[in-house]
């Protein structure tokens, strides 16, 4: 999904990284079904957010917009708080055919958009067609590339001859089918992502107006239009067909820079996430409300396997074994936990300790390096410039390599604007710091995009047909549960071949004033469950 570095590079509020204390979100059960003690309904609270790039779900790929959509849309699937597995939300059922190619999606009847229009199968199909249509220029267009007919809507030259994906068919007002080009067992997990939101007819009449005041089908609706750079205010949607939220009104004021923290300390905003620069202070001063959870971010040191010097896997393993991740994270990157798998802990299929080369073993590392034939010359460690905390951490890594492996290491900060040109363009001259945030909670989303031959983020240049085969096998599994052991084999392959060195898992932390309770992370997603927050009512 969105590059973690976008957050880090801007050093802005919502950058997250912390040590996980408890596992999963504390809410138990699936989102929205926590039963409340009487009196917990009602009230208004505020949550520090930032200015979104767009309020059209299919055209937004950042956290501030997603947080708004979390409250104003209910999509086909949501994710279980404890396991991260997809569960039907607005959908009644999502059933694959026996060959795994066609999904029959039945939606719940009687749901309405905030403007009173009914939510129908057509609402989904029309929205997905619009996003998949190349000339609309929507950012989440590529999410539909597995649906039959996608290529016709995205020709490399000229205009498409049709505006509809041939793989989408409306059967009746509450049923539609989706036909994929190949079986994809993780498809139900994708359906909980913003790209697959339904849209009312009002959107198609005027997308620009919709962007200023989106109309969703969720428990909250827009209270007035988007006040750019100031706030987005939400209010309860009275005709919501699902479990209503607790609070009546939610304010989402926008902050840039560190001012969100000043406002929180002054008591002017009820809830905020905590960036790594304020985490230490939060742990001391706001310990009772601080909620530290693992986020979906997976940090790693990429290795340029396209560079002949790095093509020996024992060299890569040696580099991984020579680092003391825990020490660096205790002292410097306090919002991270050492990575012991290439999969985030919030994902089904994560195994603690799966990576056997991810703990410090200086003697072992030296031995591996010798077995690999040693290293001559200078090793260049690359990272994003203008981030003093990251720089300290990278200096520590360089020192550890020097001390534990006896090699010469040079640090090379690269400007954020050029960074992805180097990594995606396979031009890195040595290991580099990088990160991945998931698009949807699935073990597959941490594997195929990063290490698959045509993976959208294959920055290391890893090319292994055996791995691609495992991915295809996993994709063809009958159910998501059945697919996990196969994908885990792929994970094992990566942990052995080490095209990237697993570095850390990030954290998602929130603090709140005593004016609210039940502030929970939205399951595996890196956002708050706004509908679950309860405003503390004065006891009468």
């Amino acid at each position: 999904m969105k590059r973690v570095t976008a957050w880090v590079a801007t050093a802005v509020a919502v950058a997250m990284v912390t040590v996980a204390c408890s596992s999963g979100g504390g809410g138990g059960g699936s989102a929205g079904s926590t039963s409340a003690p009487p009196g917990a309904q009602g009230g208004t609270y505020s949550f520090a957010n930032g200015e979104p790039t767009s309020l059209i779900p299919q055209n937004n790929y950042e956290a501030y917009g997603s947080q708004v959509f979390e409250a104003i849309f209910t999509r086909l699937m949501t994710y279980d708080f404890k396991t991260g597995a997809p569960v039907p939300a607005q959908a009644e059922s999502v059933t694959p055919s026996s060959d795994g190619l066609t999904y029959t999606i039945k939606i719940k009847d009687g749901w309405t958009f905030h403007n009173g229009e009914p939510v129908t199968a057509q609402s989904y199909v029309d929205a997905w067609n619009f996003a998949a249509y190349g000339p609309n220029g929507y950012i989440l267009n590529f999410f539909f590339d597995k649906v039959v007919g996608y290529d016709a809507l995205n020709p490399s030259k000229g205009k498409p001859s049709t505006k509809e994906l041939s793989g989408l068919k409306v059967v009746d007002p509450t049923t539609f089918t989706v036909t994929l080009t190949a079986p994809f067992s993780q498809f139900p997990a994708q359906l909980g992502f913003d790209a697959f939101d339904p849209l009312p007819k009002a959107f198609f009449d005027n997308p620009d107006a919709f962007n200023e005041k989106p109309i969703g089908d969720g428990p909250y609706m827009m209270d007035g239009a988007w006040k750019h750079d100031e706030t987005i205010n939400l209010t309860r949607y009275p005709d919501y067909a699902g479990t209503p939220g607790f609070a009546d009104n939610i304010k989402l004021p926008m902050y840039t820079g560190d001012s969100y923290w000043a406002d929180f300390q002054a008591g002017n905003v009820d809830i905020t996430t905590v960036g790594s620069s304020n985490l230490a202070e939060a742990r001391t001063n706001y310990a009772d409300s601080l909620n530290e959870q693992p986020s979906s971010s997976f940090f790693f040191l990429g290795i340029p396997t396209y560079d002949p010097r790095f093509q020996n896997k024992e060299l890569r393993q040696a580099l991984s074994m020579a680092i003391d991740r825990q020490a660096i994270m205790t002292a410097i990157l306090i919002n991270e936990d050492p990575a012991d798998d290439a999969i985030s802990p919030v994902i089904q299929g994560y195994r603690a300790g799966a990576c056997q080369y991810c703990t410090l073993d200086a003697a072992g590392a030296k031995q591996k390096l010798a077995d690999a034939g040693g290293w001559t010359g200078t090793l260049t460690l690359n990272y994003i410039a203008d981030d003093p905390v990251l720089e300290q951490a990278m200096e520590a890594v360089a020192n550890q390599w020097k001390a534990n492996l006896g090699i010469d290491v040079k640090l090379n900060p690269i400007g954020a604007n050029q960074y992805y040109g180097f990594s995606l363009g396979h031009k890195m001259t040595g290991p580099w710091w990088d990160g991945w945030v998931m698009d949807y909670p699935s073990i597959q989303d941490y594997l195929t995009p990063l290490y698959g031959k045509n993976g959208g983020y294959n920055v290391s240049g890893y090319d292994n047909p055996a791995f691609d085969d495992l991915m295809t096998q996993g994709d063809a599994a009958a159910t998501m549960d059945a697919s996990i052991p196969t994908y885990q084999q792929g994970d094992d392959m990566i942990l052995e071949d080490m095209p990237v060195i697993p570095w850390g898992f990030g954290g998602f932390n929130s603090v709140n004033q005593p004016t609210v309770t039940n502030v929970l992370k939205d399951g595996p997603l890196d956002q708050l469950a706004l509908e679950l927050v309860q405003v503390v009512q004065p006891s009468s």
Binding site: M1, R3, Y61, P135, N154, Y255, T256, A262, G415, G456
Partner: protein, 292 residues
């Protein structure tokens, strides 16, 4: 002006990094989608064509759009009032405090009052705006809770701390310059003549000295207000004020060429016009100037 536009446009254009991929979180976009976005923002054209397209557009008042589709002119219309309010607030402090410091220091020269003012102004000039801002925010906003610390939700009160942050520094500079200016004037022959004629000290200073001192002081005021109108980047960021300064940071950070150029252009225009206005004002105060 044209040179400025060319320079800024060129710098942003040449700055490395692809804004489209950043917008997409560095994820793959279909060729169709990329083609659409490029066409929409003229990113597929060579530099010269993009530049002339831009010139043509701004002559119609169309300053282009950000890469998320908002018109730069709309954004400026929204943000400019915030910057103006901050500028006026800071300017008020600049004028009132600056003049007060200058006059008191000059009149009470070589007393302990004068010395303390000199020390104070030196202190305030040296401390960076950043530090003043954070300290004020912490003391008055967080610890004492008297004033809002972020955003503009608190109405006119939201502008008090930011205005002080900016204004105190300006006032300190002005205080020192004004003081030497006034002292120079106080020793002029016409002043001794006025004293000799028996005019009260207050009238001498308030009327004769001050009037002559005003020209350089007003010139400085002019520069100050012109600078303030362009948007104070640091102060707006600390206090989360959605003004032009904050938008410049956002524009640069997202690598949005037309946005950056639009903002710089507008700031330049404001600066030039404000300066012009001040020059005219100076001419009214001191008729000698209009004959030069």
């Amino acid at each position: 002006m044209l040179g400025t536009i060319l320079l800024v446009f060129g710098m942003v254009f040449l700055a490395p990094g692809d804004p489209i991929s950043r917008l997409a979180g560095n994820k793959p976009l279909s060729p169709s989608t990329i083609a659409t976005i490029k066409e929409r923002y003229h990113l597929d054209q060579p530099f010269v064509i993009q530049f002339f397209d831009y010139l043509k557009a701004i002559s119609h008042g169309d300053f282009g759009a950000t890469f998320t589709g908002r018109d730069v002119s709309d954004i400026v219309k929204e943000r400019f009032p915030v910057t103006v309010k901050l500028a006026l607030g800071a300017f008020a402090i600049d004028v009132v405090m600056g003049l007060a410091l200058s006059i008191i220091a000059a009149v009470k020269r070589r007393t302990w009052i004068d010395s303390s003012i000199l020390v104070y102004t030196l202190f305030m000039i040296t401390i960076p705006t950043l530090v003043i801002g954070f300290v004020l925010q912490y003391v008055f906003g967080i610890k004492l809770g008297w004033l809002p610390v972020a955003g503009i939700q608190g109405g006119w009160q939201s502008y008090i701390l930011p205005s002080l942050t900016l204004g105190l520094g300006f006032a300190a500079s002005l205080g020192r310059l004004g003081r030497s200016d006034i002292l120079d004037n106080m020793s002029g022959e016409h002043i001794r003549a006025a004293h000799a004629r028996g005019l009260s000290r207050r009238r001498v200073v308030g009327h004769h000295v001050l009037k002559n001192s005003l020209v350089p002081i007003v010139t400085i005021f002019g520069l100050d207000i012109a600078y303030l109108m362009g948007g104070a980047v640091i102060t707006e960021t600390i206090f989360n004020l959605p003004g032009l300064g904050q938008s410049l940071i956002i524009a640069v950070r997202t690598g949005n060429g037309p946005y950056v150029v639009g903002l710089v252009m507008i700031s330049t225009i404001i600066f030039v016009f404000t300066n012009l206005f001040v020059d005219l004002l100076c001419a009214r105060i001191d008729p000698r100037i209009s004959y030069e």
